[in-house]
Amino acid sequence: MIDLKNADPNFKYEIIKQEGGEGLLKCFGCSDCAASCPVRYFDERYNPRKIIRLTLLGMKKEVLSSPFLWFCAHCHACTERCPQGIMVAELINAIKNYAVTQGYCPEGYKVQLDLLKKLGRLYEVEDFDLKKRQRLGLPPIDKTIPEVAKILEHTGIEKVVKK
Protein backbone atom coordinates (compact mmCIF):
# COMPACT_ATOMS: atom_id res chain seq x y z
CA MET A 1 0.00 0.00 0.00
CA ILE A 2 1.15 3.53 -0.75
CA ASP A 3 0.79 6.04 2.07
CA LEU A 4 0.90 9.52 0.55
CA LYS A 5 1.46 11.06 3.99
CA ASN A 6 5.14 10.29 3.46
CA ALA A 7 5.26 11.70 -0.07
CA ASP A 8 7.91 14.28 -0.94
CA PRO A 9 6.42 16.58 -3.62
CA ASN A 10 9.90 17.86 -4.52
CA PHE A 11 11.33 14.42 -5.31
CA LYS A 12 10.31 14.56 -8.98
CA TYR A 13 12.01 17.94 -9.41
CA GLU A 14 15.24 16.50 -7.99
CA ILE A 15 15.11 13.74 -10.62
CA ILE A 16 14.41 16.18 -13.46
CA LYS A 17 17.65 17.98 -12.59
CA GLN A 18 19.67 14.76 -13.09
CA GLU A 19 21.36 13.97 -16.42
CA GLY A 20 18.73 11.93 -18.31
CA GLY A 21 15.85 12.77 -15.94
CA GLU A 22 14.32 15.47 -18.12
CA GLY A 23 11.42 13.42 -19.51
CA LEU A 24 9.89 12.35 -16.17
CA LEU A 25 6.83 14.65 -16.12
CA LYS A 26 5.73 13.53 -19.59
CA CYS A 27 4.88 10.00 -18.36
CA PHE A 28 1.14 9.25 -18.47
CA GLY A 29 1.55 5.74 -17.13
CA CYS A 30 0.62 3.65 -20.18
CA SER A 31 2.92 0.79 -19.18
CA ASP A 32 4.48 0.30 -22.64
CA CYS A 33 7.87 0.36 -20.90
CA ALA A 34 6.93 -2.48 -18.58
CA ALA A 35 5.40 -4.47 -21.45
CA SER A 36 8.60 -4.10 -23.52
CA CYS A 37 11.01 -4.84 -20.69
CA PRO A 38 13.06 -8.06 -21.04
CA VAL A 39 13.93 -8.02 -17.33
CA ARG A 40 10.27 -7.79 -16.34
CA TYR A 41 9.52 -10.60 -18.80
CA PHE A 42 11.50 -12.91 -16.51
CA ASP A 43 11.10 -11.22 -13.12
CA GLU A 44 7.97 -9.26 -12.24
CA ARG A 45 9.61 -7.66 -9.24
CA TYR A 46 11.10 -5.17 -11.68
CA ASN A 47 8.62 -2.74 -13.17
CA PRO A 48 9.84 0.51 -14.76
CA ARG A 49 6.33 1.99 -14.83
CA LYS A 50 5.95 1.44 -11.09
CA ILE A 51 9.30 3.11 -10.40
CA ILE A 52 8.29 6.12 -12.51
CA ARG A 53 4.80 6.39 -10.95
CA LEU A 54 6.23 6.18 -7.42
CA THR A 55 8.73 8.88 -8.35
CA LEU A 56 5.98 11.17 -9.64
CA LEU A 57 4.00 10.56 -6.44
CA GLY A 58 7.04 11.53 -4.37
CA MET A 59 7.62 8.16 -2.71
CA LYS A 60 11.29 8.94 -2.35
CA LYS A 61 12.36 6.36 0.20
CA GLU A 62 10.44 3.50 -1.49
CA VAL A 63 12.05 4.27 -4.85
CA LEU A 64 15.61 4.95 -3.69
CA SER A 65 15.89 2.05 -1.26
CA SER A 66 14.35 -0.52 -3.62
CA PRO A 67 16.86 -3.14 -4.76
CA PHE A 68 14.78 -3.59 -7.92
CA LEU A 69 15.76 -0.12 -9.18
CA TRP A 70 19.11 -1.71 -10.06
CA PHE A 71 17.51 -4.48 -12.13
CA CYS A 72 17.24 -2.21 -15.18
CA ALA A 73 19.60 -3.67 -17.81
CA HIS A 74 19.73 -0.32 -19.67
CA CYS A 75 18.76 -2.16 -22.87
CA HIS A 76 16.52 0.67 -24.16
CA ALA A 77 13.70 -1.64 -25.32
CA CYS A 78 11.41 0.73 -23.34
CA THR A 79 12.92 3.84 -24.90
CA GLU A 80 12.01 2.59 -28.38
CA ARG A 81 8.36 2.05 -27.42
CA CYS A 82 7.54 5.06 -25.19
CA PRO A 83 4.69 6.99 -26.89
CA GLN A 84 5.76 10.12 -25.01
CA GLY A 85 9.28 9.98 -26.40
CA ILE A 86 10.83 9.58 -22.96
CA MET A 87 14.23 7.91 -22.98
CA VAL A 88 12.99 5.60 -20.24
CA ALA A 89 16.28 3.77 -19.66
CA GLU A 90 18.00 7.16 -19.25
CA LEU A 91 15.27 8.21 -16.80
CA ILE A 92 15.76 5.07 -14.71
CA ASN A 93 19.51 5.74 -14.86
CA ALA A 94 18.88 9.29 -13.59
CA ILE A 95 16.99 7.84 -10.62
CA LYS A 96 19.92 5.46 -9.98
CA ASN A 97 22.32 8.43 -10.10
CA TYR A 98 20.16 10.30 -7.59
CA ALA A 99 19.95 7.20 -5.35
CA VAL A 100 23.76 7.18 -5.27
CA THR A 101 23.81 10.80 -4.01
CA GLN A 102 21.43 9.71 -1.22
CA GLY A 103 23.70 6.91 -0.01
CA TYR A 104 22.24 3.99 -1.98
CA CYS A 105 25.06 2.67 -4.16
CA PRO A 106 25.31 -1.11 -4.73
CA GLU A 107 28.64 -2.54 -3.56
CA GLY A 108 29.55 -3.82 -7.04
CA TYR A 109 29.64 -0.30 -8.41
CA LYS A 110 31.88 0.85 -5.56
CA VAL A 111 34.35 -1.91 -6.47
CA GLN A 112 34.28 -0.81 -10.12
CA LEU A 113 34.86 2.79 -9.09
CA ASP A 114 37.92 1.78 -7.03
CA LEU A 115 39.30 -0.26 -9.95
CA LEU A 116 38.83 2.60 -12.38
CA LYS A 117 40.53 5.00 -10.01
CA LYS A 118 43.49 2.66 -9.54
CA LEU A 119 43.83 1.31 -13.08
CA GLY A 120 41.73 3.41 -15.43
CA ARG A 121 40.21 0.15 -16.65
CA LEU A 122 38.06 -2.63 -15.18
CA TYR A 123 40.60 -5.43 -15.41
CA GLU A 124 44.17 -5.44 -14.24
CA VAL A 125 46.59 -5.93 -17.14
CA GLU A 126 49.16 -8.44 -15.88
CA ASP A 127 52.54 -9.25 -17.43
CA PHE A 128 50.97 -12.54 -18.46
CA ASP A 129 48.35 -10.68 -20.51
CA LEU A 130 50.98 -8.51 -22.17
CA LYS A 131 53.05 -11.58 -23.08
CA LYS A 132 49.98 -13.33 -24.45
CA ARG A 133 49.19 -10.27 -26.55
CA GLN A 134 52.76 -10.18 -27.82
CA ARG A 135 52.62 -13.88 -28.75
CA LEU A 136 49.44 -13.26 -30.72
CA GLY A 137 51.01 -10.30 -32.51
CA LEU A 138 48.70 -7.81 -30.77
CA PRO A 139 50.09 -4.36 -29.88
CA PRO A 140 50.94 -3.53 -26.23
CA ILE A 141 48.38 -1.70 -24.07
CA ASP A 142 48.78 0.65 -21.10
CA LYS A 143 48.69 -1.05 -17.71
CA THR A 144 47.23 2.00 -16.04
CA ILE A 145 45.64 5.23 -17.25
CA PRO A 146 46.13 7.82 -14.47
CA GLU A 147 44.00 10.45 -16.28
CA VAL A 148 40.88 8.57 -15.16
CA ALA A 149 41.63 9.27 -11.49
CA LYS A 150 41.95 12.96 -12.37
CA ILE A 151 38.45 12.97 -13.90
CA LEU A 152 37.02 11.16 -10.88
CA GLU A 153 38.62 13.71 -8.58
CA HIS A 154 37.33 16.59 -10.69
CA THR A 155 33.69 15.45 -10.58
CA GLY A 156 34.00 14.44 -6.91
CA ILE A 157 32.08 11.21 -7.53
CA GLU A 158 34.09 9.24 -5.00
CA LYS A 159 33.02 11.56 -2.17
CA VAL A 160 29.39 11.27 -3.29
CA VAL A 161 29.52 7.47 -3.32
CA LYS A 162 31.25 7.21 0.06
CA LYS A 163 28.82 9.65 1.70
Binding site: E19, I141, I145
Partner: protein, 285 residues
Protein backbone atom coordinates in the same frame (compact mmCIF):
# COMPACT_ATOMS: atom_id res chain seq x y z
CA UNK B 1 42.73 2.22 -47.66
CA UNK B 2 40.38 3.28 -44.87
CA UNK B 3 41.89 4.23 -41.54
CA UNK B 4 40.24 4.29 -38.10
CA UNK B 5 41.28 4.65 -34.49
CA UNK B 6 40.53 1.30 -32.81
CA UNK B 7 38.99 1.60 -29.36
CA UNK B 8 39.52 -1.62 -27.38
CA UNK B 9 37.83 -0.88 -24.05
CA UNK B 10 38.45 -2.94 -20.90
CA UNK B 11 37.33 -6.48 -21.68
CA UNK B 12 38.47 -7.15 -25.25
CA UNK B 13 42.25 -6.65 -24.89
CA UNK B 14 42.59 -8.89 -21.82
CA UNK B 15 39.62 -11.27 -21.89
CA UNK B 16 38.65 -11.59 -25.56
CA UNK B 17 41.88 -11.42 -27.52
CA UNK B 18 40.41 -13.77 -30.12
CA UNK B 19 37.81 -11.10 -30.91
CA UNK B 20 40.52 -8.44 -31.30
CA UNK B 21 42.81 -10.77 -33.26
CA UNK B 22 40.10 -11.84 -35.70
CA UNK B 23 38.85 -8.27 -36.13
CA UNK B 24 42.37 -7.03 -36.92
CA UNK B 25 43.02 -9.89 -39.34
CA UNK B 26 39.69 -9.38 -41.13
CA UNK B 27 40.48 -5.66 -41.36
CA UNK B 28 43.76 -6.45 -43.14
CA UNK B 29 41.91 -8.55 -45.70
CA UNK B 30 39.51 -5.65 -46.26
CA UNK B 31 42.31 -3.11 -46.62
CA UNK B 32 41.36 -1.32 -43.40
CA UNK B 33 44.06 0.19 -41.21
CA UNK B 34 43.61 0.47 -37.45
CA UNK B 35 45.62 3.07 -35.52
CA UNK B 36 46.22 2.49 -31.81
CA UNK B 37 44.73 4.93 -29.29
CA UNK B 38 47.53 5.55 -26.79
CA UNK B 39 46.33 6.04 -23.17
CA UNK B 40 42.72 5.10 -24.02
CA UNK B 41 40.88 4.09 -20.84
CA UNK B 42 37.61 2.45 -19.89
CA UNK B 43 34.80 3.95 -22.01
CA UNK B 44 32.96 5.07 -18.86
CA UNK B 45 29.91 2.82 -19.20
CA UNK B 46 30.48 0.95 -15.90
CA UNK B 47 30.10 4.29 -14.09
CA UNK B 48 26.97 5.45 -15.88
CA UNK B 49 24.60 4.04 -13.25
CA UNK B 50 26.64 5.79 -10.55
CA UNK B 51 27.07 9.16 -12.25
CA UNK B 52 26.28 9.71 -15.91
CA UNK B 53 28.32 12.90 -16.13
CA UNK B 54 31.52 11.26 -14.88
CA UNK B 55 30.94 8.39 -17.32
CA UNK B 56 30.46 10.83 -20.21
CA UNK B 57 33.65 12.70 -19.31
CA UNK B 58 35.63 9.44 -19.40
CA UNK B 59 34.10 8.69 -22.79
CA UNK B 60 34.78 12.20 -24.08
CA UNK B 61 38.42 12.00 -23.01
CA UNK B 62 38.75 8.86 -25.13
CA UNK B 63 37.24 10.74 -28.06
CA UNK B 64 39.79 13.53 -27.55
CA UNK B 65 42.54 10.99 -28.34
CA UNK B 66 40.95 10.04 -31.66
CA UNK B 67 40.13 13.67 -32.38
CA UNK B 68 43.79 14.65 -32.08
CA UNK B 69 44.62 11.80 -34.47
CA UNK B 70 41.94 13.21 -36.81
CA UNK B 71 40.40 9.74 -37.13
CA UNK B 72 36.95 8.28 -36.62
CA UNK B 73 36.59 5.54 -34.02
CA UNK B 74 35.78 1.87 -34.47
CA UNK B 75 34.72 -0.09 -31.39
CA UNK B 76 34.35 -3.80 -30.68
CA UNK B 77 32.01 -3.66 -27.67
CA UNK B 78 28.37 -2.59 -27.84
CA UNK B 79 28.42 -0.72 -24.55
CA UNK B 80 31.60 1.15 -25.50
CA UNK B 81 29.83 2.11 -28.75
CA UNK B 82 26.84 3.50 -26.83
CA UNK B 83 28.95 5.38 -24.31
CA UNK B 84 31.30 6.95 -26.87
CA UNK B 85 28.39 7.80 -29.20
CA UNK B 86 26.61 9.50 -26.31
CA UNK B 87 29.74 11.53 -25.55
CA UNK B 88 29.99 12.49 -29.23
CA UNK B 89 26.46 13.98 -28.96
CA UNK B 90 27.16 15.61 -25.58
CA UNK B 91 30.27 17.37 -26.89
CA UNK B 92 27.88 19.49 -28.99
CA UNK B 93 26.20 20.64 -25.77
CA UNK B 94 27.80 23.93 -24.60
CA UNK B 95 27.52 23.17 -20.90
CA UNK B 96 29.09 19.72 -21.21
CA UNK B 97 31.80 21.03 -23.54
CA UNK B 98 32.71 23.64 -20.92
CA UNK B 99 33.20 20.95 -18.28
CA UNK B 100 35.25 18.93 -20.76
CA UNK B 101 37.50 21.93 -21.51
CA UNK B 102 37.96 22.58 -17.77
CA UNK B 103 39.70 19.21 -17.58
CA UNK B 104 42.17 20.39 -20.21
CA UNK B 105 40.93 18.16 -23.04
CA UNK B 106 40.68 19.29 -26.64
CA UNK B 107 38.42 18.24 -29.49
CA UNK B 108 39.92 19.69 -32.68
CA UNK B 109 37.94 17.41 -35.03
CA UNK B 110 34.47 15.94 -34.78
CA UNK B 111 34.77 12.17 -34.25
CA UNK B 112 32.26 9.63 -35.57
CA UNK B 113 31.92 6.40 -33.59
CA UNK B 114 30.91 3.12 -35.19
CA UNK B 115 30.81 -0.46 -34.04
CA UNK B 116 33.08 -2.67 -36.14
CA UNK B 117 30.03 -4.43 -37.62
CA UNK B 118 28.27 -1.17 -38.51
CA UNK B 119 31.51 0.05 -40.08
CA UNK B 120 31.60 -3.11 -42.22
CA UNK B 121 27.96 -2.66 -43.23
CA UNK B 122 28.04 1.07 -43.97
CA UNK B 123 31.61 1.95 -44.91
CA UNK B 124 32.84 -1.24 -46.58
CA UNK B 125 29.55 -2.74 -47.75
CA UNK B 126 28.24 -6.24 -48.36
CA UNK B 127 29.32 -6.28 -52.03
CA UNK B 128 32.97 -5.50 -51.28
CA UNK B 129 33.03 -8.14 -48.55
CA UNK B 130 31.40 -10.73 -50.83
CA UNK B 131 34.21 -10.27 -53.35
CA UNK B 132 36.84 -11.64 -51.00
CA UNK B 133 34.92 -14.62 -49.57
CA UNK B 134 37.02 -17.65 -50.47
CA UNK B 135 35.32 -20.34 -48.43
CA UNK B 136 31.54 -19.90 -48.11
CA UNK B 137 30.33 -21.41 -44.82
CA UNK B 138 27.14 -22.82 -46.35
CA UNK B 139 27.12 -25.84 -44.03
CA UNK B 140 26.60 -23.61 -40.96
CA UNK B 141 23.37 -22.52 -39.34
CA UNK B 142 23.80 -19.80 -36.73
CA UNK B 143 21.89 -17.44 -34.45
CA UNK B 144 22.70 -13.72 -34.67
CA UNK B 145 22.83 -11.95 -31.33
CA UNK B 146 22.85 -8.20 -31.94
CA UNK B 147 23.14 -7.03 -28.35
CA UNK B 148 21.16 -4.03 -27.15
CA UNK B 149 23.58 -1.20 -27.78
CA UNK B 150 24.29 -2.12 -31.38
CA UNK B 151 21.16 -0.29 -32.57
CA UNK B 152 19.45 1.07 -29.44
CA UNK B 153 18.64 3.74 -28.47
CA UNK B 154 17.74 4.80 -32.02
CA UNK B 155 17.92 8.46 -30.89
CA UNK B 156 21.66 7.89 -30.54
CA UNK B 157 22.34 5.76 -33.61
CA UNK B 158 19.67 6.25 -36.29
CA UNK B 159 20.88 2.96 -37.74
CA UNK B 160 19.17 -0.34 -38.54
CA UNK B 161 15.68 -1.14 -37.26
CA UNK B 162 15.61 -1.09 -33.43
CA UNK B 163 12.64 -3.50 -33.31
CA UNK B 164 13.49 -5.86 -36.17
CA UNK B 165 17.19 -5.47 -36.90
CA UNK B 166 18.64 -6.98 -40.08
CA UNK B 167 22.12 -5.57 -40.84
CA UNK B 168 24.01 -8.16 -38.82
CA UNK B 169 21.97 -11.03 -40.29
CA UNK B 170 22.92 -9.73 -43.75
CA UNK B 171 26.58 -9.70 -42.82
CA UNK B 172 26.34 -13.24 -41.48
CA UNK B 173 24.64 -14.43 -44.67
CA UNK B 174 27.47 -12.82 -46.65
CA UNK B 175 29.78 -15.50 -45.19
CA UNK B 176 27.51 -18.17 -46.69
CA UNK B 177 26.21 -19.27 -43.29
CA UNK B 178 22.48 -19.47 -42.65
CA UNK B 179 21.30 -16.87 -40.14
CA UNK B 180 18.16 -18.21 -38.47
CA UNK B 181 15.12 -15.91 -38.30
CA UNK B 182 13.66 -16.17 -34.82
CA UNK B 183 11.39 -14.34 -32.38
CA UNK B 184 13.01 -12.26 -29.60
CA UNK B 185 16.04 -11.39 -31.72
CA UNK B 186 16.50 -8.21 -29.72
CA UNK B 187 16.36 -9.94 -26.32
CA UNK B 188 19.03 -8.65 -23.92
CA UNK B 189 21.78 -11.10 -22.83
CA UNK B 190 21.26 -10.13 -19.17
CA UNK B 191 24.85 -8.98 -18.73
CA UNK B 192 23.92 -5.69 -17.09
CA UNK B 193 22.16 -7.42 -14.20
CA UNK B 194 24.85 -10.08 -13.65
CA UNK B 195 26.38 -8.14 -10.76
CA UNK B 196 22.96 -7.45 -9.21
CA UNK B 197 21.14 -10.80 -9.53
CA UNK B 198 23.08 -13.66 -11.13
CA UNK B 199 20.15 -16.06 -11.33
CA UNK B 200 18.06 -13.53 -13.24
CA UNK B 201 20.97 -12.71 -15.58
CA UNK B 202 21.50 -16.40 -16.35
CA UNK B 203 17.74 -16.82 -16.92
CA UNK B 204 17.90 -14.06 -19.53
CA UNK B 205 20.94 -15.62 -21.23
CA UNK B 206 19.27 -19.03 -21.18
CA UNK B 207 16.38 -17.70 -23.28
CA UNK B 208 18.52 -17.31 -26.40
CA UNK B 209 20.61 -20.44 -25.77
CA UNK B 210 17.31 -22.32 -25.68
CA UNK B 211 16.28 -20.73 -29.01
CA UNK B 212 19.66 -21.66 -30.50
CA UNK B 213 19.29 -25.27 -29.38
CA UNK B 214 15.69 -25.54 -30.63
CA UNK B 215 16.79 -24.28 -34.03
CA UNK B 216 19.70 -26.69 -34.19
CA UNK B 217 22.15 -23.80 -34.47
CA UNK B 218 25.87 -24.56 -34.77
CA UNK B 219 26.78 -21.36 -32.93
CA UNK B 220 25.59 -18.10 -31.45
CA UNK B 221 27.34 -15.20 -33.18
CA UNK B 222 28.13 -12.30 -30.88
CA UNK B 223 29.57 -8.82 -31.44
CA UNK B 224 29.99 -7.78 -27.82
CA UNK B 225 32.39 -9.21 -25.20
CA UNK B 226 29.84 -8.82 -22.42
CA UNK B 227 27.13 -10.69 -24.32
CA UNK B 228 29.71 -13.44 -24.89
CA UNK B 229 30.37 -13.60 -21.14
CA UNK B 230 26.67 -14.37 -20.75
CA UNK B 231 26.28 -16.92 -23.55
CA UNK B 232 29.67 -18.61 -23.33
CA UNK B 233 31.16 -18.20 -19.84
CA UNK B 234 27.76 -18.60 -18.16
CA UNK B 235 26.51 -21.36 -20.47
CA UNK B 236 27.33 -24.03 -17.92
CA UNK B 237 25.44 -22.12 -15.23
CA UNK B 238 22.43 -21.94 -17.55
CA UNK B 239 22.73 -25.69 -18.13
CA UNK B 240 22.75 -26.30 -14.38
CA UNK B 241 19.97 -23.85 -13.59
CA UNK B 242 17.68 -25.24 -16.29
CA UNK B 243 18.87 -28.87 -16.14
CA UNK B 244 19.72 -29.07 -19.80
CA UNK B 245 22.69 -29.46 -22.14
CA UNK B 246 23.70 -26.85 -24.68
CA UNK B 247 27.37 -27.11 -25.71
CA UNK B 248 26.76 -24.31 -28.22
CA UNK B 249 29.90 -22.44 -29.31
CA UNK B 250 29.78 -18.65 -29.18
CA UNK B 251 31.80 -17.05 -31.96
CA UNK B 252 32.62 -13.42 -32.50
CA UNK B 253 31.50 -12.25 -35.92
CA UNK B 254 35.04 -11.54 -37.21
CA UNK B 255 35.94 -15.15 -36.39
CA UNK B 256 33.14 -16.34 -38.67
CA UNK B 257 34.02 -13.76 -41.31
CA UNK B 258 37.72 -14.65 -41.12
CA UNK B 259 36.96 -18.33 -41.64
CA UNK B 260 34.93 -17.43 -44.75
CA UNK B 261 37.91 -15.37 -45.97
CA UNK B 262 39.87 -18.61 -45.79
CA UNK B 263 41.97 -17.49 -42.82
CA UNK B 264 43.56 -20.18 -40.68
CA UNK B 265 41.65 -21.08 -37.49
CA UNK B 266 44.57 -19.73 -35.44
CA UNK B 267 44.41 -16.39 -37.24
CA UNK B 268 40.89 -15.99 -35.84
CA UNK B 269 41.82 -17.39 -32.42
CA UNK B 270 39.53 -20.43 -32.48
CA UNK B 271 41.46 -22.08 -29.66
CA UNK B 272 40.29 -19.36 -27.26
CA UNK B 273 36.59 -20.16 -27.60
CA UNK B 274 35.60 -21.64 -24.25
CA UNK B 275 32.77 -23.81 -25.57
CA UNK B 276 34.83 -25.94 -27.93
CA UNK B 277 34.06 -25.34 -31.61
CA UNK B 278 35.67 -28.53 -33.00
CA UNK B 279 32.40 -29.91 -34.42
CA UNK B 280 31.75 -26.60 -36.16
CA UNK B 281 35.27 -26.50 -37.62
CA UNK B 282 34.90 -30.06 -38.83
CA UNK B 283 31.61 -29.18 -40.49
CA UNK B 284 33.17 -26.40 -42.57
CA UNK B 285 36.16 -28.61 -43.36
Amino acid sequence: MRKYALFLGCTVPVRAQHYELSARNCAKELNIEFAEMASASCCGFPLKAVDAETALLLAARNLSIASKMNLNVVTLCNSCTAMLSDAQMQLKNKEFYKKYKELGFSYPHEVIVKHFVRMLYEDIGIDAIKKIIKKPLSSLKVIAHYGCHYMRPSQLYGFDNPEVPHTFDELIRTTGAQSVEYVDKKMCCGGSVLGIDEKLAVTMANHKLHIAKNNGADAVISICPFCTVMYEDNQRKAEEQFETQYGIPVLYYPQLLGLSFGLDKNAVGMRFNRVRPEALLEKIG
